[in-house]
Amino acid sequence: MINFLTYRSINNRKFTSFLCIASIALSVTLFLAIERIRNGAREGFTNTISQTDLIVGAKGGSLQLLLYTVFHIGGAVNNIRMTTFDEIKNNHLVDWAIPISLGDTYKGFRVVATDENFYEHYRFRGDKKVEMSEGSRPSDTFDVVLGSEVAKKYQLKIGDPILLSHGLSSEAILSHENTPFKIKGIIASTQTPIDTGVYINLYGMEAMHFGWESGVPDGAKINPERFKKENIKITQITSFMVKLKSRIAVLKMRREIDQYEKEPIMAIIPALSLQEMWQTIGYVEQILFLVSLCVLLVGVLSILISLYTSINERRREMAILRSLGASSRHIFALLLYESSFLVIVGCITGVAALYGALIFVRPWLESNFSVYLETQPLSKTEWFYLLGIFCAGTLAGIIPAIKAYMNSLQDGLTIKF
């Protein structure tokens, strides 16, 4: 009976009910969407690199080390010796190590010199590895592999020759003219900084700097024999990533590296550093969260307003129901039912709109902001939020319900005109 009356009564006030449902739906969509984007941004950020236990580089700022190694931002103060890398790599606690050598660019995109281990062991977003969308990994000295964005931006194909520039400035004017590289492969899109990298191997890095010992090319012609891998000696790299055989050893290893006597080097734990960094830049997400909470509050208030303003004009209706045997509690229940009905319909509409929006917005968010959103079903937390919204909306309905209850006690069957 109450169901029926609720439905007809809401139907009778179609427009206000519609507005009420729309405002709840909108706030639910906004709230959940902001939650998802928030989580997506954090996940995307903190999972830029995974499984790596330590990042090792020259002593300096730990944030700086993280930024140039993982995000291709800024540069190192010093390089480290290849012998240091070899020694740590061969430590019995170490599972694998990926060397990174930086210092050059391709039209503003960072050139990253590394080795086979990068393609073998580097992981991001949990367990995703670097895959080639076209071609294969670099093997020869002058092979180069492009991040997906680099390839897209300059419309580059396998086999194209490219010239790399010396230095990190995007306006680098000195180019490695004598040592053109050939595109060997293109890395599939990862939605991480890898997409904006240009990858060569350590031999290539060393080889293109032959004759640059003074900082500028000395112009001397270089014997092609020297470019053969077996003739190239790699002396230094910028930093390297380490995975240990056991997580338990991380702190011990870090301490050992920090106290390494042959060279001033340091180690950071990327997961921790990323977390710390997110906390400093993540205040924006907290503001977003607060704003979405406020929007939700407004949505809930709209139920209160819409029902409360209808109470007086429905005084007669309540007296009629009373005369037909309805108790004051019935009247109370009727209004509570109305509010919970409005919230439920609002929530359902809001969730439907969220998924609709996700399908349309997701590709754009991913490619433009590296915000990684999966169209997953509602999480436990989200169900919990919805439950909270439902309770809040129903609670908002209690105020007009109490008012109607009091009215019906006061009026009885006598209706005032």
Partner: protein, 224 residues
Amino acid sequence: MIKNSIFVSDLKFSYPNTQKLVLSINRLEISEGEKIFLYGPSGHGKSTLLNILAGVLEVKEGTIQVLGKNLPELSQSARDHLRGENIGYIFQIFNLIPYLNIKENILLPVMINKKRAGNIDYSQQADELISTLGLSEYAHQKVTDLSIGQQQRVAAARALIGNPKIIIADEPTSSLDEKNTEEFMKLLLANWEIRKFTLIFVSHDTRLKKYFEKTISLPEINIT
């Protein structure tokens, strides 16, 4: 022996937190199946008495038996049930829920009180009432489009559905013109002839006395 439908004795009532005695009735008896004209000009506790008989207002002092049950001894919800199951109530005006159609309005009492429906096919009874009250051609109209005369007839049908033992009509004709009043009275009394419920017709309009065998005057029995 004829049973009493309503029996009131030594009733004293004042509203909570006030001193003023609004109602004081030594004795009021209405037999089962009787039709009574209750003369009640405003200001003599008419609304109060009706709210008490319907079980909406709680009484502390006196005996008010409705269909053999003493209201002061019943809980609020028991009184709500008694009203819903046994009493049909017609208001002066605006009897209908605006967002329900005619038939839904008529069926409301049996929807709220399953017991009032009993074993009868109330949907069929609603159709019968719609036709005996001459409302067939409006059955699918919105109730807000009906004239006041038609609305009051729908209200009468709603009071009659489920065959309640008592019908209280609170000035049902006061907003009707003479022709509509006469029509309404005829329909109501024709139904009373068939169903023999206890009819308590409350009005300040003494011209309507002629339809009834017995008149009770509220100013006389209320001795405040």
